[in-house]
């Protein structure tokens, strides 16, 4: 059972090697610059294997809405994943997962009935539909419109699906990363590699008679290094993830992962704990987007605002940051880990501007909050799997470029910290307090990077920190790490990005000698 304590404590965590997380990455094919294109309705196992044809769907929806419904849908999912691990010089473990099922949801007003089944026989599915329907107490919602298959963009086309790639083609890639990491520094003692590829087929049939299908690939590769020098050990890791296929893993990309893991580990031998207390914080371009995810992203998910419990409730249209700050949550970036063709309620994804030139412009909406606010869903209704009802969630969250440069920002700091790599973060939605953990960074003294620092938690208040974003550079970078966001016990893949940013004042969890 999940700890109910976490229900309102949103956190983001970088999945680590050996993680037992069921959420698996998929794979890549082709090049990452392939433009999105329209596709015809893909074949899905729901039609081929489960006889989930139009008349079955229609019968299930009738049962589901037999006591009334404002929103209702059937969410079918078939996921196939492969994981591989490398330890002590060999590929020592493989894992395969098949997970399938159907979730049924009925919403009346702001009340939700939900049920799911992994037994895809008609009696079991009908039983689930009946169970979900009991939230409603009215009369039948009326006939479902004839089903039409809706087309969507394809932000993650692959040359070859992961299901067509045998394990023997993956092993040499894993071994290359391990061998590369081992030879980069004589201090490297051990190398651990984790690989995941995954393909998720979904089918969404809603009360308006639309059928959406989506094939969602994901892949993740991580490298953990243990090094020993002068009797002391250090360990760190690197990972990359995307909605890509096998061809994404070029030799250059594999070598980059190995190099980054070794560099991060070796830096720890020199690094010290930073001083404790309030000081300026420079966020390096890329993974520092964790700041946006925690400081504003969760607070802009519309469910928390609809309920009045977010610190950003009632702030639409108000200035919340300097005018050079624009913050976006985007499901449409090709092959990004956070990209989605269609969200898990059947709304095509979009680019949603949360903050435009410092003004709060839009929350992230699912269908329930869109009805509440009288707006269109932003395509932000996501769920971990068919076992969960959807919630407003982030996809890929980043800040647009600003007017400054990285050099200007660093030279402006008399004494502070530059943050480069991160492991995890968390936020309290109502109080606005958020944290993120810096694994590697630098001490800045008189405008210069003087010494590496490590292992410090940063804590601040979302609205205060946004007001204190005093400089934004022109070097926005999307992080390629495999970030997974947790909310109400549901984990979903997300992406992060940021240009170099200066926060003028924040509390650093260091140690004063």
């Amino acid at each position: 059972m999940t700890d109910p304590f976490f229900n309102r404590r949103e956190f983001i965590k970088l999945a680590s090697v050996g993680s037992a997380a069921l959420a698996c990455p998929g794979m890549l094919a082709g090049c990452s610059t392939t433009p999105p294109m329209d596709t015809a309705m893909p074949e899905t196992p729901f039609f081929e294997w489960y006889d989930l044809d139009r008349s079955t769907l229609s019968g299930l929806l009738s049962e589901l809405t037999s006591r009334g419904a404002d929103i209702a849908e059937i969410f079918g999912q078939y996921t196939r994943a492969t994981s591989i691990s490398y330890e002590d010089g060999i590929i020592n473990r493989a894992r395969s997962v098949v997970d399938h099922g159907v979730g049924m949801r009925v919403v009346v007003g702001d009340q939700t009935g939900y049920a799911f089944t992994e037994d895809l026989t008609l009696p079991s599915m009908l039983q689930a539909a009946r169970t979900a329907s009991t939230i409603a107490h009215g009369s039948a919602a009326g006939a479902v419109a004839p089903f039409q298959v809706a087309s969507t963009a394809n932000y993650y086309p692959l040359d070859q699906p992961w299901s067509a790639v045998g394990i023997e083609r993956k092993l040499p890639l894993i071994e290359r990363v391990a061998q590369q990491a081992a030879r980069l520094d004589p201090a490297v003692e051990k190398v651990l590699i984790g690989w995941v590829d995954e393909e998720e087929e979904v089918l969404i049939a809603d009360i308006e008679g639309r059928i959406f299908t989506d094939t969602r690939p994901m892949t993740r590769l991580s490298c953990t290094v243990i090094a020993r020098r002068d009797g002391q050990r250090q360990s760190s890791s690197s990972n990359i993830a995307a909605r890509h296929g096998l061809a994404w893993y070029t030799p250059e990309r594999l070598d980059f992962v190995a190099k980054q893991a070794v560099e991060r580990t070796m830096a720890l031998f020199e690094a010290r704990r930073p001083p404790a207390g309030e000081m300026p914080l420079v966020l390096a371009a890329g993974a520092s987007g964790i700041l946006l995810h925690e400081a504003i992203g969760h607070g802009m998910e519309a469910d928390f605002n609809r309920k009045g419990i977010s610190i950003y409730a009632d702030k639409i249209g108000q200035p919340i940051a300097p005018p050079f700050v624009t913050i976006v949550d985007d499901g449409t970036q090709p092959h990004e880990r956070g990209a989605l063709n269609v969200d898990d309620e059947g709304t095509p994804c979009q680019r949603t501007v949360l903050v435009s030139n410092g003004i709060l412009t839009s929350y992230m909406h699912d269908k329930i909050s869109a009805r509440h606010y009288g707006v269109e869903s932003t395509g932000s209704g996501r769920r971990q799997s068919f076992r969960h009802a959807p919630l407003p969630r982030m996809r890929s969250t980043y800040m647009e470029n600003g007017p400054h440069t990285k050099e200007e920002i660093i030279t402006s700091v008399r004494r502070g910290i530059l943050a480069e790599t991160f492991t995890n973060g968390q936020v309290q939605i109502g109080a606005g307090d958020f944290t993120f953990y810096i694994k590697n960074g630098w001490l800045i003294e008189d405008g210069r990077l003087t010494a590496p620092v490590k292992d410090c938690n940063i804590i601040g208040n979302g609205p205060e920190v946004l007001r204190n974003v005093t400089m934004v550079a022109d070097d926005r970078t999307m992080d390629t790490g495999g970030w997974t966001c947790g909310k109400s016990g549901q984990m979903v893949p997300v992406s992060l990005g940021l240009p170099t940013v200066l926060v003028s004042r924040i509390t650093v969890g260091g140690e004063n000698a």
Partner: protein, 438 residues
């Protein structure tokens, strides 16, 4: 149901052997769950489901793999297992990976762990709704309330294991959790939250719904007006609810896996104490009604009471069969069950009174630790301790240091274990701790 699951597991072992596996271990499970959530004046969500899955561990020509599926249609399951065996052949021979020695199955306790509450089967939905309503009503009794949410979730699960070398086992349990969250409007823009939750294997012994709602409200009320305190070195008092999280950081590297990989600061503990003499930790899988109680672990090793830390020194590690072979250590168990802390004499209030001045931490916010070095940095919420009493609320602060140094400065352990977790942790008091604030 037990028999159906046992047959499913045994059939999967047979299929794996027919497909070419030398040895196999199957786990078949079924779980029924019901979740109710309630907000302000009405039900927000009702979710019910029956869930099932089949897990397999395969040993094929000296190689090892694991698999899980929820697709149990016979012809597709057979194909899944055939493909799983073929996939295993593609990886490398690992001489350290062998199915559990049956000698480790011996000595399984026949104690009745009492993990199933028959009353939970009879709990009807109108009672769940009424309890949710009572929690919310108790949580609303304040003029600053914005919103109150409550939830009740309960489940009943059965997990059956069968192996090709003679293991069979059935684990069955129920659990129920109640929780309330209260959000208040503070001066200015902040909307502080308070939460209370309780749960267990049985309904008996849980607080009344009204008590949970009232406690959540009082937690929220005492967050009103929180400020950031000064950067300082001070005495730290950790509430029983938060102590489990801190011990979790200390215990993360306590496995043979991390010792073997060189990623554990426990490796040095053979030569020096890990903590002050005040710390005694025991892993007890055989607690009656324990949230993490079990008669055998995931590898079938018969469960035993295992001292982990005695008077601040490492007594045992979590050693599974794989890393046991790699390190030469005798297997104990692959992972923690219920963690029992040897208690002290005084309650949290008495300890705060004795400390006089310091910082009282009620919950953590983010942060992390390094298993290799023990360095940690954690965000927290709490209160100043002034004149021996709980004072002004504090937020936006961190506590940082090294876990071995921190636990070496453990000066007192409370008599008040938190009952609603598998980590039964009491109040902990540490001296000379670095806090970061303004």
């Amino acid at each position: 149901m037990h028999e159906e699951l046992l047959n499913r597991a045994a059939d999967a072992v047979t299929l794996a052997q027919q497909a070419g596996a030398d040895a196999a271990w199957a786990t078949a499970s079924r779980r029924r769950s019901v979740e109710f959530s309630f907000r302000d004046d009405r039900l927000e969500k009702v979710q019910e489901a029956v869930s099932r899955s089949l897990g397999l561990q395969l040993y094929v020509a000296g190689r090892y793999s694991t698999h899980t599926t929820t697709d149990l249609v016979p012809e597709r399951l057979e194909r899944f297992i055939r493909e799983a065996v073929a996939m295993t052949r593609a990886i490398q021979v690992d001489p350290y990976r062998q199915i559990t020695d049956p000698a480790l199955f011996e000595g399984r306790s026949d104690l009745d762990l009492d993990l199933v509450d028959p009353r939970l089967e009879q709990l009807d939905n109108s009672t769940r709704e009424e309890w949710c309503r009572q929690m919310v009503e108790a949580g609303r009794q304040h003029e600053r309330v914005i919103s109150v949410t409550s939830s009740i979730s309960s489940g009943h699960g059965i997990v059956v294991d069968a192996s090709s070398n003679g293991f069979t086992g059935t684990a069955e349990g129920t659990a129920i959790w109640l929780s309330t969250g209260v959000t208040l409007q503070d001066e200015g823009e902040r909307r502080p939250e308070g939460a209370m939750w309780a749960g267990g294997r049985h309904l008996e012994g849980l607080p009344l719904p009204r008590e949970i709602g009232s406690k959540a409200l009082s937690e929220a009320v005492r967050r009103l007006g929180a400020t950031t305190g000064p950067t300082q070195v001070a005495t730290l008092v950790v509430d029983p609810r938060a102590a489990g999280g801190l011990l979790g950081h200390l215990l993360r590297p306590a496995s043979a896996a991390l010792i073997h990989q060189g990623r554990s600061f426990w490796a040095d503990a053979a030569h020096r104490p890990l903590a002050s003499e005040r710390l005694d930790l025991t892993d007890n899988p055989l607690l009656v009604r324990g949230l993490a109680s079990r008669r055998y672990d995931g590898e079938g090793i018969a469960a035993r009471v295992l001292p982990i830390v005695q008077a601040g020194r490492v007594a045992n590690l979590y050693v599974d069969t794989y890393y046991g072979r790699k390190t030469g250590m005798a297997p104990t168990t692959g992972g923690s069950s219920n963690l029992v802390v040897t208690l002290g004499e005084r309650s949290c209030d008495e300890l705060i009174a004795a400390v006089g001045r310091g910082i009282y931490v009620t919950s953590w916010l983010g942060g992390n630790s390094d298993t290799t070095t023990g360095d940690f940095s954690l965000g927290f919420r709490g209160h100043a301790i002034e004149n021996g009493a709980v004072g002004a609320p504090l937020g936006e602060m961190n506590v940082s240091g090294n876990l071995v140094e921190l636990f070496s400065n453990l000066v007192e352990v409370g008599n008040d274990p938190w009952p609603y977790s598998s980590y039964l942790t009491p109040t902990l008091v540490f001296e000379n701790v670095q806090f970061s604030g303004t």
